[in-house]
Amino acid sequence: MSNELLYLLFFGGLFPLMFIAYIIGKNKAISLTNKNIKMHSQPSQYGWFVSLYTGLPIITITVVGVFLYLFDIHLLPPFMLISFALSLGAVSLVFLNKAINKDTKARNLVEGFIEGLLLLATFVSILTTFGILISILFEAIEFFRRESFFNFIFGTTWNPDTAFLEGAGRGGEEVASAKFGAVPIFAGTFYITGIAMLVAVPIGVFTAIFMSEYASETLRDRIKPILEILAGIPTVVYGFFAAITVAPLLVDFFASLGLKASYESALGAGIVMGIMIVPIIASLSDDVINAVPKNVKQGSLALGMNKAETIRFVVLPSAMPGIIAATLLGVSRALGETMIVVMAASLRPNLTMNPLEDMTTVTVKIVEVLVGDQAFDSSLTLSAFALGLVLFVITLVINIVSIYTIRKFHKKYKISNL
């Protein structure tokens, strides 16, 4: 039986049945009211009650059946499963219809159903987090079963090229075994992130100070949307800009100083990434600076400090936890940023302190490995998931620390944006 027919059977059974259930439930309630029985709820609520609780078993059984199917457990053939679910729905319709009397709390039951539905929606976001964790974790564990964890974390040579020979059954004595030492990759990631933060933090924080303390209301209203444009530019566009415009400029500039810079230098990718993060840091810092109570500032002004001194010695120290949290969120964005480094940084793991040389990052490696034509179970493919796991853990820790800091900050000053 084809999929289309199955869909037709399912929806063609479900919706008419629920519609009939609504009509039946409503009419029953109306007929009871006409007999001068005082009902608990409105007739239409009885209709919804019968309709929703007719649909519930049908949908539940089908969804469970489909899930079992994906785990290769075939309790019933799909046609039988849907027919069974539909007939169960019909039975529950008859049963519910019989059960309606003046004490049936249809409204409460319907609203309970809706609340359950809303609760179910919130589970999607939890499932997403666990989905990410699970999808990375299993493959990463498989990777660490093959390659040593210690080597991965502390090894300084990343040379996985021979992994695919082994995967093809051509590994042997004469081929050097693949090396998965990720230190150069992590070093590149942190280095580029560091450059990005050197650009983003001063510009972002000072912009935030200007916007919240110096700019007039109208200027603020005009500049905020412009900064939002900066935040809304896709990273692939930044990446193109970094590779086509910024990189050659840097090479020419350093050549005039007599220095040799790579076209895929860490500096170029870092600077552009920093610009990308400016609006994130600026808008979060703006929020926290605005959250500093007015009376604190007025107290400082009353004691004779001028505006700049008030900002430097009173406002900024009070806002510091929030600014640090904003910076941390920026760091987490920079660590996980992909397209800028894929386009503007290189593929070569390179352990160096020179920002003019090319470097690679975790995300570049993940993209390189997963876009190539590797067999899904080769060590090389699995290494992408191991790198992903490290990225996940690091960003998770940073995010949670910064979220807690911001929450605490907002609790202190009794406002709540996050």
Partner: protein, 389 residues
């Protein structure tokens, strides 16, 4: 009057005020440098992208006969063969099939010039040989080469022949993907926000969900790609490269943004409205459905548009789920392989031919125009429906 007689004279005051001014200018220069960067960036994109909106055409004579059908290249002498696009020549037999009256006639038509001629006319680096350059120069004088508006860019899909490559299939792919994202993320996001803001008790579990959502908003987007690959493609068997899998992945990504903005919209509805509802004997759901939700809907809409605008520019997770496949024809449904605008931009940016660079920049201009207009609509809605309680 001696300075020291001034009762209010403070010796450091001058220095302090000067420092204050310097501080103000440091702050202002930070803002100015951010704006300056934005300006340089936009200027550079326009400068690189606008040439792609024109394309050179050559007026040429074509004899439509049976030979043309079997071998379209044969209709041209070596001079025109070297400057006319191969892709255009290959399209001739189809042109003849569509219009049988052409058969047996000799027509003067504007043929698509190849990439090198186009680059030569635009004054960019090119690979034309001297002889070909002379032909093109002569034809330019005769007026039989013209730069026309580049319809091909908006009407065809990707191609390995630079002058024939267009953005159409990427635009359609993005639309389909966005449609999937919207139908999944917006309802679930709004439902989650309603639950958290209106129904959830304030306990550890709710706090856990809220922290989880904030964390999800900051998780690197590429990890969502890994989720899409491992769970949607490998476990559920959703076709690779399809707008369905791309849209589902992006939906999970934009969910936290929609939730956070919808929660803010719900929060901005004053508590008195709810209290009035309770006072009249409404249930919590009735208050939400009939009063709170309609009042906060514009805010939710604004937040959703901004989240979707972000999703449309997202690349990394889509690359992981395979949406950078070479797709010459636009997808017709959500299960066919497709490419999206940012992925097309990424693919073109890696091509060696010079013409792809300007196509990349032109693609960026199209993408930015769409993004800016989406954001513009969001800002307009926010202004229009803004209520001061």
């Amino acid at each position: 009057m001696e300075k020291n007689d001034d009762y209010f004279y403070i010796p450091q005051l001058k220095k302090r005020n000067r420092n204050g001014k310097i501080f103000k200018w440091v702050c202002a220069s930070a803002l100015i440098s951010a704006l300056f960067f934005l300006f340089i960036f936009l200027f550079d994109m326009v400068r690189q992208g606008y040439p792609a909106f024109t394309q050179a055409y050559i007026e040429t004579e074509v004899t439509f006969n049976e030979d043309l059908k079997s071998n379209p290249y044969s209709a041209f002498d070596s001079d025109s063969f070297s400057i006319i696009s191969r892709a255009w020549m290959r399209g001739l037999p189809r042109m003849m099939d569509e219009d049988p009256s052409l058969k047996g006639t000799e027509q003067k038509i504007w043929a698509l010039a190849n990439a090198e001629v186009d680059q030569y006319i635009k004054g960019h680096p090119h690979k034309l040989r001297d002889r070909e350059q002379k032909i093109v120069d002569r034809m330019l004088e005769e007026g039989s080469i013209e730069s026309k508006f580049n319809v091909i860019f908006f009407l065809t899909g990707d191609s390995k022949i630079p002058e024939n490559a267009g953005f159409y299939s990427a635009i359609i792919g993005s639309l389909l993907t966005l449609l999937v994202t919207m139908t999944i993320a917006v309802p679930i996001g709004i439902m989650t926000a309603i639950y958290l803001e209106e129904f959830a008790p304030d306990n550890k579990f709710t706090q856990f969900i809220e922290i989880n959502i904030n964390n999800l908003a900051a998780i690197p987007s590429i990890l969502f790609g890994l989720l899409g690959l491992a769970i949607f493609i490998i476990f559920f068997g959703v076709p690779r490269s399809s707008p369905l899998v791309g849209g589902m992945t992006l939906a999970l990504m934009s969910l936290p943004i929609i939730i956070v903005s919808s929660k803010a919209a719900l929060k901005s509805v004053p508590a008195t409205i709810r209290q009035a509802g309770f006072g009249l004997g409404l249930t919590r759901w009735q208050i939400v459905r009939d009063h709170v939700l309609p009042l906060s809907l514009p805010g939710m809409l604004t937040g959703s548009i901004i989240a979707l605008a972000q999703a449309i520019g997202e690349t990394a997770p889509l690359i992981i789920v395979g949406m950078i496949a070479f797709v010459p024809d636009a997808a017709t449904n959500i299960l066919e392989p497709a490419t999206v605008m940012p992925a097309q931009i990424y693919t073109w940016s890696g091509m060696p031919e010079r013409m792809y660079i300007e196509k990349t920049a032109a693609g960026i201009l199209v993408l930015l125009t769409i993004l800016l207009s989406m954001n513009g609509v969001a800002i307009y809605l926010r202004k229009k429906f803004h209520t001061k309680w």
